[in-house]
Symmetry: C2
Subunit: 257 residues, 2 copies
């Protein structure tokens, strides 16, 4: 039996995952998206059909990949008759059990990466984490994941949640700090451009050195004069003084030991 | 007259800056370091002499580069007779005026980068910011900086402080968040390795896309269920709940507009 897939969701993650699977020879036989525009766009790149109504989702797929916003799960999935086929979600923080009421065969395939429109990532390098309550479903997911990525592990829902929380700090909050840095530069009419080499080097460094050992800056040096002068500037010119104070205190407490 | 330099300080920044200058043919005729080990090591790579007493610092250098911890400036510099030669510091947040009492010729050359032991960075790509109160000194610094970097700008002390504060967020605090992520993974016995592709992609993304537009994650999606489940885990297992709460609130406030 050749496996074919239905993609429920057509966002950034669905787009890159479905394309990686198609490149390995799998057939995607349908895409569902509430948005006509996203559904059409993804279906075209996959040479397949799309629907915008959950009721029209095909019964003929071998595996259903659910790549929806977490908050949309219930509304969309409750309209679909999966006929106990394998239903797989791709979410970091939703437990496997959220799928229980929709099918007897469920699983998770979680890619630990940030996906954006118009940025292609090399899928082979993305760590994938799979889970299933059923041995043969788990085996199948491991096989499929192993075809599209060099890094595949089994992770239960608790472990996956830890992965997701660590990713919020290492990616989402980090990106927000890039935004704060950009705000501060703007207040001095300085281009964000000048920070790019520093941002890249900071990320490259921890590819080789443990982040705890790579720490630099006024807080780890206990440089009170500099910290006070930064806080004075931030309190007078921005809303970021509180954050600077709290994080510097954390760093100070960690390294004073 | 061929210019020669004395390096006061032999840390990571002094090491990389002095080597970049030597590679352009400048002579470094002395290194000062309080630490015998660091002084000796740097002097060897530069084929020059080193001293560990500030009183033995040469009077024969054309320019003195001060790359000390900010807190060590006063103690070390007050012992040196610069004979009004050009004295240049490399600090982000100290104003040019801190050098006023030591020489009539002063300047700043600030590289916007993070320097660590045993990690070579490509000096040509580091943005350098120079300042001097005197036109001919400024010209000289611009010339020298232009020989070792493709990105040289003039920045006064106020502008340089903004650069430094933005670097604290985009580098020092970011690195601390990598450490937090590593802590969370450790609590689940997960290798930091799995986060490396995400960390790199997050930094690569903002080389092309404005960080404000690159924001992803539960906070920008207003995903209250996920945020609450993360906070429950962090409050029960770590000291990071308060930080997660505060930053999520910041992100929420910014993007709800």
């Amino acid at each position: 039996m050749s496996l074919n897939f239905c993609f429920i969701g057509a966002g950034n993650l669905a787009t890159q995952l479905s394309q990686a699977l198609k490149n390995k020879g799998y057939e995607i036989n349908q895409v569902y998206s509430r948005s006509e525009k996203s559904g059409k766009k993804l279906a075209e790149t996959l040479s397949t059909r799309f629907v915008t109504s959950a009721k029209e989702i095909t019964k003929d797929a071998g595996i259903y990949f659910v790549a929806l916003k977490d908050s949309a799960f219930e509304e969309v999935l409750s309209q679909i008759d999966f006929d106990n086929k394998l239903v797989v979600h791709c979410s970091g923080s939703l437990p496997l059990s959220v799928l229980r009421s929709y099918s007897e065969n469920t699983g998770v395939l979680y890619p630990l990466q940030t996906f954006s429109k118009d940025r292609k990532v090399e899928f082979r390098k993305i760590p994938l984490f799979v889970e299933s309550g059923n041995e043969s479903n788990l085996k199948l997911l491991l096989k499929i994941a192993g075809e599209i990525s060099d890094s595949v592990s089994v992770a239960d829902s608790e472990k996956r949640k830890m992965l997701h929380i660590s990713a919020v700090f290492a990616c989402n909050f980090v990106n927000y700090f890039y935004t704060i840095a950009s705000d501060i530069l703007k207040s001095g009419n300085i281009q964000f451009e000048v920070l790019k080499p520093l941002i890249l080097e900071t990320a490259l460094k921890v590819q080789e050195i443990e982040p705890e050992k790579a720490q630099t800056g006024p807080a780890v040096r206990f440089d009170k004069n500099i910290i006070d002068s930064h806080l004075k500037f931030l309190d007078e010119n921005s809303e970021y003084g509180q954050l600077y104070r709290l994080i510097s205190k954390h760093i100070f407490e960690r390294y004073k030991k």
